[in-house]
Symmetry: C2
Subunit: 167 residues, 2 copies
């Protein structure tokens, strides 16, 4: 990127940070799949991300303030990645990207059921999901008994997968 | 991209189409700047897009159904680019990208005033703006006397530019 031509336009700055194919894919997998370790992100990748690209993008996302990296207390050799508030704030953007993709592109049923729920839930559901992510990733407390949005999204996904396997 | 690993996830498919630094920048300039010719897009680019990249991305965006290209009846040698319904449907996504950028990144005042108005206007303003884009790009009729959202955004931008120059 030509440093002479950086502009202060919010769309441009956002694309400077997130405008590559993989950064948002990785944040998606951490956010919706709760994949917190390098190996999980690599092995479960639906898009088959390459190990060197994953390592590069994780490093960049940490440098740019979208992820934090900490030693996992349960596995001495492993690092655990967490979303920052800046990344959690991408939930509405993901909801809109998912809605646009569902409307205009040949999405698969099992991989779009979560986007459908997120779209239909609207800003209220997004806010609940963001609170839940803050609890998971930033250690903020949630009122006891708060229903899990991620559980609901995951259950709906597994239900479609199961239905298609048995169908 | 490895064709073996294409996934049907709506986020992934959206990024396959729009997940590069330039595609959304070009759509932004056509949408908010009403730049319809190659030369305007090249010469007015705040980010200094290179001519070969602009040509490549315009071609791709036409192939992928986000833009149409037609001969300009007023300039025989020129092509005029128009947004399709698929691209016009990106307005809410731009609004959210702009809002996220304004909140988390070092945006400039003059290049973020339009994002601010779009954010504050919410879904009602986005719908009005999309109707206006449909009139401009798809030739759909608007009721006579409909106030122009683009004019309002442009005026606000020019006002900030003027204030900063005289300040």
């Amino acid at each position: 990127m030509d440093a002479l031509h950086r502009s202060g336009c919010p769309i441009n700055l956002t694309l400077e940070i997130l405008g590559d194919r993989w950064s948002l894919i990785i944040i998606r997998d951490i956010m919706f799949g709760n994949r917190r370790h390098f190996r999980e992100l690599l092995q479960n990748s639906e898009e088959g991300i390459a190990s060197n690209i994953l390592a590069d993008r994780l490093k960049r996302l940490v440098e740019r303030g979208l992820l934090t990296r900490a030693d996992d207390p349960t596995h001495k050799q492993k690092a655990v990645y967490s979303l920052t508030e800046m990344a959690i704030d991408l939930v509405p953007l993901f909801a809109h990207m998912g809605a646009w993709g569902r409307k205009h592109l040949p999405v698969s049923e099992e991989l779009s059921i979560r986007a459908e729920l997120l779209e239909n839930g609207g800003p209220t559901l997004w806010a609940d999901f963001m609170d839940e992510l803050r609890a998971q990733h930033l250690g903020k407390a949630l009122p006891p008994g708060t229903p899990s949005v991620l559980r609901r999204l995951t259950d709906a996904y597994l239900e479609v997968v199961g239905r298609r396997k048995s169908g």
